[in-house]
Symmetry: C2
Subunit: 206 residues, 2 copies
Amino acid sequence: MTNKLSRREREKLRQRQEILANALDLFSEKGYHNVSMQEIAGKAEFAIGTLYKFFQNKEDLYKALVLEKCDEFEEAMVEAIEDSDDVADKLRNYIRTKGDRFRSNLPFVRLFLAESKGASFNIKAGLDEELRKRVYSFLHKLAAIFERGIQTQRFKPIASPYSLAVALDGVLDAFLLLWLDAPEHHPYPEDPDTVLVIFFKGLIDS
Amino acid sequence: MTNKLSRREREKLRQRQEILANALDLFSEKGYHNVSMQEIAGKAEFAIGTLYKFFQNKEDLYKALVLEKCDEFEEAMVEAIEDSDDVADKLRNYIRTKGDRFRSNLPFVRLFLAESKGASFNIKAGLDEELRKRVYSFLHKLAAIFERGIQTQRFKPIASPYSLAVALDGVLDAFLLLWLDAPEHHPYPEDPDTVLVIFFKGLIDS
DNA sequence: CTATAAAGTGATGACTAATTCACATTTGGA
DNA sequence: TCCAAATGTGAATTAGTCATCACTTTATAG
């Protein structure tokens, strides 16, 4: 099925994308609440009223933006895991693809975390810096534990202590967030070993 | 060193906490931008002007709120990893403590993700629901890979396929976010195997 | 009991931003 | 060439917020 769109309709779609692209730039830089329709209109070189011809309101514009980008992202991920026959290669491919997409869509990633972490807002407030420092300092403390474990040969040196610390924290956060999202579907990791087993035992015989 | 504060000063501190607690409730529910000073004042049963006796402005209030909670959180974490002598027990203790704090501070956690994930905002917009669906659907696809790997005995059954999927995603996100935050300090996981090694090889000989 | 300081109040000013709509411009077919 | 319909415009409307400050109330000390 090729384009059944008239020139007119194609033009409209192009303009829509134009608006969304400009909005993405602004949102990712300053955060949803700190970008006005005025500003988007200006950057996209349309009048305000025109934006409202394309989107019911600001929220609608934002929704469209996020949803379309996410669909694109998801599609790429699904494709990535269907690419190979070997399960390990599927995983490798997924990791690589996700990283690639991440890197090539930084503005969107930032929008997501930042209309989030309130980046625009926190950064200005100097809060972000303060918190970042704490997080890193703690990660190093965690890493020290892994380091000691490796030195005393309790642990095998499968990765750098710092990587292990990051990984552990990432896994734990992931479990906790899922539980928060849907406690009925995702059991709370009551027993620390349900998390640690992933680190202690390897998937593949060594 | 006990309280060297006068009754007056203690009273003031109590009120300050009162304000912060009420603000936390509101922020975590509706997000920073959707809560007015008016509203905070109302809920805390003070006049607006009084809030400004305690905090220079809205941002200052928010900053104080987040920073104090984070300090509390961090302290608990540091204590947790200093608790035992055995490295594995340190990790267990950390995981348990973080989970406990997470559970007992849900409003704050929500504030953080949500004045973040724009939860307040996205939820209202119905965006969140939409995205959640996509994430879960994809996690199941990932889980299917682990399941097949286990069935075909490529992988050892160290955890449920779904847990493994969650964990892998968590680790990958953690690495990518760190890289985003400070590319100079955190090498981008160019090679998928730097991530996978953590899953494939166990820390402890089996 | 009175005077003085501290704490608390909330109407109000100054401002910002979303959305509307009456009007101008462009388009494309007759 | 002309004109109706579609498209584009941006000043004006509307709604809401932060922050101030002149004032009231409460607490304390003499």
